[in-house]
Amino acid sequence: MDKNIILPKVEVGRTIGFLEILDDYGSKVDIAKIAADLLLDLDDVLPVVDTAEMFNFIKVEDGDLTLTKSGLEFVIQGIRGRKKIINNCLNNTTVFQIINKEINKDKEKSMDKEELLSILRTLLPDTEVENAFRIILEWGRHGLVLRYDSEDSQVRMI
């Protein structure tokens, strides 16, 4: 496992869809096989795998993927149950912990978009941070951890 993963790399929908597909295979599947079956490049699948692994939904061993107990539990939940699980995962994810800490320090209890982009630039020196921002926002909103108002560009914790 890549211990350098501190934030989700892909969108909510792709991660959940991937878990559904894994669940349908029923047991261990080779990463290359899944990619081939889905007509996707390995390059497209790997960041999804990283994200699912970061949340401890899947286990990766010698190129084989399996759903963990948490992953199986997640897949059988309905929308409400899944949001609860994701909320929990995000509270244990580094980037959201950093955002939470910084926002709590702020008088207005909010963080400007530029400030978050700046934090991301420090954490991810070689990455396009606008994309990372968009993905983090999506997870944060989906997991009911943060709110974003595009009118005043402020991020707030829920």
Binding site: V12, G13, G17, E138, R141, H142, L144, Y148
Partner: protein, 250 residues
């Protein structure tokens, strides 16, 4: 059980540069309550045109389409349609886009808002109420479309290739959610009619599949899918049906 929707000898043709082009021919079928019907067929077979005729957005050249025994002449407020492109209003946020479906019904603002909020939760968009369409991923945008289409409690939901311009992983997640919505007693619709070129998707989702031929589209065959949901995509039964449909189209 009386049919909710009935298509009788539907034909559609138009003229292009003086030549007559037949898109649909001799389409006959009915849809009953609690049915999830998929229409599959090759590109250009007229399946989208057929959907528009049912929605009241287009008129057949021959035959008639009936909704509860009444000829379909115009758009009925008991039917909603979702396309593969989203048509969300970019200057409205998610909540306002979903509420839009209710404005025409003359509901009080508070009632509208509560209905919209509940629908937003039902499609998994809780947390995104104040987001604008440009901030949303493709699948999230489609969820807004679904919420907006269902917030008016339509009896019939029509879908034209709803997952076709989407990342395959996102489409997968959305299909699963559609199955949940379909099985949810508290969410109408009573009937879903989905047009798709994706045979696997049709077999995974539908109770019955109507297969159209190449243009001019006519009914090549009908398949009943009696498998319980959720269905295993990689099962013998599913593969058998997919093969049979593919053989019919090829």
């Amino acid at each position: 059980m009386p049919a909710v929707l009935e298509l009788k000898n539907i034909g559609k043709e138009f003229y292009q540069e003086g030549k007559k082009i037949k898109i649909l021919e001799d389409i006959n079928f009915t849809i009953e309550e609690h049915e999830f019907l998929a229409i599959v067929g090759p590109a250009g077979c007229g399946k989208s045109t057929l959907l528009k005729i049912i929605m009241g957005l287009d008129k057949p050249t021959k035959g008639e389409a009936l909704y509860h025994n009444n000829k379909i002449n115009s758009v009925d407020s008991n039917m909603s349609i979702i396309f593969h492109s989203f048509a969300l209003l970019p200057w409205l946020d998610v909540l306002e886009n979903v509420e839009l479906g209710l404005e025409a019904q003359g509901m009080k603002k508070e009632v509208r808002m509560n209905k919209a909020i509940r629908m937003i939760q039902a499609v998994g968009l809780e947390g995104f109420e104040n987001a604008h369409p440009r901030e949303l991923s493709t699948d999230m945008k489609q969820r807004v479309s679904i919420a907006r289409a269902l917030v008016t409690d339509p009896e019939v939901l029509l879908m034209d290739e709803p997952f076709s311009v989407m990342d395959p992983l996102m489409a997968e997640g959305l299909r699963e959610e559609l199955v949940s919505l379909w099985e949810d007693k508290y969410v109408k619709p009573e009937i879903i009619l989905m047009v798709t070129h994706n045979i696997e998707e049709a077999v995974y989702l539908a109770d019955r599949i109507i297969v159209l031929t190449q243009r001019p589209g006519s009914v090549a065959g009908e398949f009943e899918i009696k498998l319980p949901r959720p269905r295993k995509k990689r099962s013998k039964e599913v593969y058998k049906i997919i093969d049979a449909i593919t053989a019919l189209i090829a």
